[in-house]
């Protein structure tokens, strides 16, 4: 029991530390898309009080101002996206520069120095030339090959020019009425950022908005949410396995203590004294287990850190709170109290004669119900401690609970069926059945315990595999890597034809009509208090609306009807996330400003969108008639390989208005997150696997003494080694097959439920789950069981029979 409790505490400590550290790392990586942990954006300079508060909180602060402007090179104007970056930029991630396109890339610690500018690779011809920015001339001495927060906004159309913020004033580019985007970047620990965010939110002005990793690109948010949910699931299931070990060992310990307690009670020792004694013993056990478990848990981070550091290219961030250790100790205490006390109290309350001459009574049934209720309450308390109010935790608990209640009943019925299956003449079969009959309870405990452990393992494996498969399919090899935007409507057929001739795969073309949300159900959006803070992004910015008769790829209608028919009435189809943020329902009337006009129509459907597919995706899609004649440009996405680049150049010469948008950087970032998350998921899987093995050993250990005694008896009756092997192999193989079958069955059902409900991924029935379940349970149980029982092969039977 001490070992099982140590393992539980070690698992909680390690899982808390590791998930927090990986979570921090993933957040930081996602933060690189913002070049910060949190950004406040506005069209006007931000209040100094924000910076002062951030300074007081110990946050790092940097400022950028960006605007679209024209630069002059040899008196030729060119439209650029100018960004002026202050000291410290970027706070997360790194800039990359090069002398020319083929040269080795540099990673400067800071942005441009005073007097210099770094220019986009699209302006590479101008490197080394003098560039006139407003009233000032600058030397373009570096190519800017990578900018961490560049991928955060897909439609950065013009080439980038990066300059020092201190030089911006002298250019005279900012005058009253200039359209600029001011961004103040903040970075710090999770706690510091959360505290600052809480302080900041109520103070934000109408034009100011917070951007953080949660409000970053939807592709990124989905990847992070899924990873976090998977970690949560892994922790829950790994803990369930560890608690099964405590429950099994508690039952075993109570059985072993029963005769001692009965003798002490027979000698007149008061029950209260015995309760006090055992409470002190449990207290001592908890203290020792906490110290050792926390130490083990802390140490177990290092193999992961060692394994991940090389691949992550950096160190895992440290966790600077005591919370993982305190939670682990508390989980240990709750588990011990919940699983051990009912058993020990029951033993103490049992009349001594019932221990010496056990009889099955209604009381034992009542006791079993009490143990069951206590175990459920304990698991629930532990989950609340770890997961707070997570619905995922509740559903997982429900699945485990159903399995816990059903598995012993199923195994009990199966054993009964086997016992009544006829008069067996083959000694081995008969002997095994007699073993099952005499130790039905032990067999049920072993099979149920190991089934639960295997169920948890298979559930983790199923969801992990589905998750990885979903990611794989979302980032296939032929995923589009370029958006062709700014296409004139009349050029679209010719451009598509040209792409087809070059064997370049492209998406369907979509029109883009620039709009701004004006009103919902006749109420101007400025007057609506949205409950969801992410609503401000949609309300304060312009966004593109498209029209289509065909539901785009990877979109699915979850409510209402898709725009269909010959001449449909005016209507909108809304993306699910937008509908949630703006609290939009079917039938609500949305009004959009398009230039000086306003258009309005009711919402006819709500769609899910697979943002990760890098195809044109839209928050709002209208019917054709509603926006067909509004000012518009068109876009399409395409997969352009290096060998197609010359053909692309030709296309750009033919249609000079086309703007090409390279999204491969954003894809690479998401792929990096997926890769890192995959490593972490695999590590967790190993962790759960190790825990399950402990359960297996604990379960086998409970019946070990009895099994050894019976084997010694067989040996005394002159049984040979092969006959003893046959007994053990057949017994554990039978158990393994039953365990594997039911664990795979429950895991498939639970995997389906969790994949579909919580990870929003399609579930595919996998025969490998059944193969893994059956083969692993049979092999592991048979090998471990035979190994544990092998002692009898080399020990004198007399020693065992007399012990």
């Amino acid at each position: 029991m001490l070992i099982a409790t140590i393992i539980t505490i070690a698992i909680v400590t390690a899982s808390q530390l590791i998930t927090q550290r990986i979570g921090l790392l993933l957040d930081r990586q996602a933060s690189e898309l913002l070049a910060a942990d949190l950004v406040v954006a506005s069209s006007a300079p931000l209040a100094q009080s924000y910076r002062e508060k951030a300074g007081a909180e110990g946050l790092n602060v940097a400022t950028t101002i960006s605007m679209r402007t024209a630069i002059f090179i040899d008196d030729e104007p060119q439209l650029v996206e100018l960004k002026a970056a202050g000291a410290g930029y970027p706070l997360r991630g790194q800039l990359e520069t090069a002398r020319d396109l083929n040269a080795e890339k540099q990673r400067p610690k800071q942005g441009p120095s005073n007097g210099e500018v770094w220019i986009d690779t699209r302006l590479s011809a101008q490197l080394g030339q003098s560039i006139l920015l407003g009233k000032q001339s600058f030397e373009a001495n570096w190519l800017l090959t990578f900018e961490p927060d560049r991928g955060g906004s897909l439609f950065n159309l013009a080439p980038r020019v990066l300059m020092n913020l201190d030089d911006l004033h002298d250019t005279g580019l900012i005058i009253p009425g200039s359209r600029v985007r001011c961004r103040v970047l903040f970075s710090g620990s999770g706690d510091q950022i959360n505290r600052f965010r809480r302080w900041l939110k109520p103070r934000l002005q109408a034009d100011e908005s917070i951007q953080d990793i949660e409000t970053a690109r939807p592709e990124m948010r989905r990847a992070l949410e899924r990873t976090r949910s998977f970690f949560a699931l892994s922790i829950i299931l790994t803990l369930v396995i560890a608690m099964v070990a405590i429950a099994i060992t508690a039952s075993y310990t109570a059985g072993r203590e029963a005769p001692k307690v009965a003798i002490l009670r027979a000698f007149g020792i008061a029950q209260t004294r015995l309760v006090g004694f055992y409470l002190r013993e449990i207290g001592k056990l908890w203290i020792i287990a906490s110290l050792v478990g926390i130490a083990f848990g802390w140490l177990s981070q290092f193999p992961l850190q060692w394994a991940l550091d090389g691949w992550f290219g950096r160190e895992l961030p440290q966790v600077d709170t005591m919370q993982p250790f305190l939670v682990a100790a508390l989980v240990g205490l709750v588990s011990l109290a919940g699983f051990c006390l009912p058993y020990l109290l029951s033993v103490i309350a049992t009349p001594p004669m019932q221990v010496f001459r056990p009889v099955t009574s209604r009381r034992s049934l009542k006791r079993n119900v009490l143990f069951g209720v206590s175990a459920i309450v304990t698991v629930f308390l532990v989950l609340i401690l770890l997961m707070q109010s997570s619905l995922l935790a509740v559903v997982t608990l429900g699945v485990i609970l159903v399995a816990t209640l059903m598995l012993p009943v199923i195994f009990g019925l199966l054993i009964r069926a086997l016992l009544f299956s006829g008069n067996h003449r083959f000694w081995l079969k008969r002997y095994l059945l007699s073993r099952l009959r005499s130790s039905t309870r032990a067999a049920i405990v072993v099979m149920s315990g190991f089934s639960l452990a295997l169920l948890a393992i298979l559930m983790i494996a199923i969801v992990k595999d589905e998750l990885l498969a979903a990611w794989d399919t979302q980032l296939p090899d032929d995923i589009p890597n370029y958006f062709l935007i700014n296409l004139a409507r009349e050029d679209v057929p010719q451009i598509r034809q040209s792409l087809e001739q070059q064997a370049i795969a492209s998406s369907d073309p979509y029109p883009l009509v620039r709009t701004r949300l004006a009103a919902i159900n006749g109420v101007p959006v400025a007057q609506i208090a949205f409950a969801d803070p992410r609503a401000s992004n949609l309300v304060n910015h312009t966004f593109n609306v498209s029209f289509s008769e065909v539901l785009p790829d990877d979109n699915a209608i979850i409510e209402g009807q898709w725009i269909a028919g010959e001449n449909p009435t005016n209507q909108f189809s809304v993306e699910q996330g937008m509908a949630e943020r703006l609290a939009i329902k079917i039938g609500d009337v949305i009004a959009l400003s398009v230039g000086a006009e306003t258009i309005e129509a009711p919402v006819s459907s709500i769609r899910t969108v697979l943002w990760e597919n890098f195809k044109p995706n839209f928050y709002l899609i209208a019917n054709r008639r509603l926006i067909e004649h509004k000012p518009q440009t068109w876009l399409l996405s395409a997969r352009i390989e290096d060998n197609n680049k010359p053909a692309l150049k030709q296309l750009l010469q033919q249609f000079p208005a086309i703007t090409l948008l390279d999204v491969s950087i954003l894809m690479a970032r998401i792929q990096a997150i997926i890769d890192r998350a995959t490593i972490a998921l695999e590590f967790f899987f190993l962790f759960a696997l190790a825990s399950a093995f402990i359960v297996l050993l604990a379960a086998i250990q409970t019946g070990k003494a009895e099994r050894q005694k019976e084997s010694a008896l067989l040996r005394a009756l002159s049984a040979q080694n092969r006959q003893l092997y046959s007994v053990h192999v057949l017994e554990f193989t039978l158990m393994g097959l039953l365990v594997g079958f039911f664990a795979a069955l429950f895991a498939s059902l639970a995997g389906w439920l969790i994949s579909v409900q919580f990870f929003d991924i399609d579930y595919h029935f996998s025969p490998t789950t059944w193969i893994y379940g059956l083969v692993s349970a049979t092999l592991v149980l048979t090998i471990a069981g035979t190994m544990v029982s092998r002692k009898v092969y080399n020990i004198s039977p007399m020693k065992i029979l007399r012990s």
């Binding site: 003449r425 000694w427 008969r430 002997y431 059945l433 007699s434 073993r435 099952l436 009959r437 005499s438 130790s439 019976e710 008896l713 067989l714 040996r715 005394a716 009756l717 002159s718 049984a719 040979q720 080694n721 006959q723 092969y793 080399n794 020990i795 004198s796 039977p797 007399m798 020693k799 029979l801 007399r802």
Partner: protein, 187 residues
């Protein structure tokens, strides 16, 4: 008959003689075979079909019937007519009517009779019995002793018996007295 006080080493001696235990020194010859250098598997082979054992605490397979317990050593020895032999031996100990009863549902005396039937079922050359009446009342103990001696006389099996009951010891042909692991006398 092996006699001695509690803890004198009677059961240990019996276990060594029967090849159920390993000696740390000295030689043990059973039925002409030296057990000393043999491992567990080899000693089991020596015992197979030639040695029977009756334990003080019966040591029956729980969850199995009386008949199945008696059949077990016969089948382990690879004999085909286990069922008939087991029935015959159960009949000899007077338990044919309890053949299909689970052993845990039998009384102590009945369980020891099943144990004796099981020991004689392999038709052993030598049968070791470790205080076979130690867990039984005097009357049942007497019945069990009578049964063992009757079967001994019928089969010609050598009976090596550990006891601290003087009345039982007197029925033996050879008497060994031990104390603290030392052989005091043998006659």
């Amino acid at each position: 008959m092996i006699q001695g006080a509690s803890g004198s080493g009677k059961t240990t001696l019996l276990g060594l003689m029967a090849g159920l235990d390993q000696s740390s020194s000295g030689d043990i010859i059973l039925l002409g075979e030296d057990l000393t250098s043999k491992n567990e598997e080899q000693r089991a082979r020596v015992r197979a079909g030639r040695v029977g054992f009756v334990f003080q605490s019966f040591q029956l397979v729980q969850g199995a019937t009386a008949l199945q317990n008696v059949m077990l050593p016969i089948e382990l020895g690879g004999k085909a007519d286990a069922f008939e032999l087991a029935c015959k031996h159960l009949q000899e100990v007077g338990l044919e009517s309890k053949a299909d009863t689970l052993v845990e549902q039998l009384s102590g005396g009945e369980q020891q009779r099943v144990s004796i039937a099981r020991a004689f079922a392999v038709e052993p050359t030598i049968l070791f019995a470790d205080e076979p009446t130690g867990n039984l009342d005097a009357k049942t103990g007497k019945q069990i002793t009578d049964l063992m001696f009757r079967l001994r006389d019928q089969t010609g099996t050598t009976l090596v018996l550990v006891t601290h009951e003087q009345s039982l010891a007197e029925r033996g042909d050879v008497h060994i007295q031990i104390e603290s692991g030392e052989l005091l006398n043998a006659d």
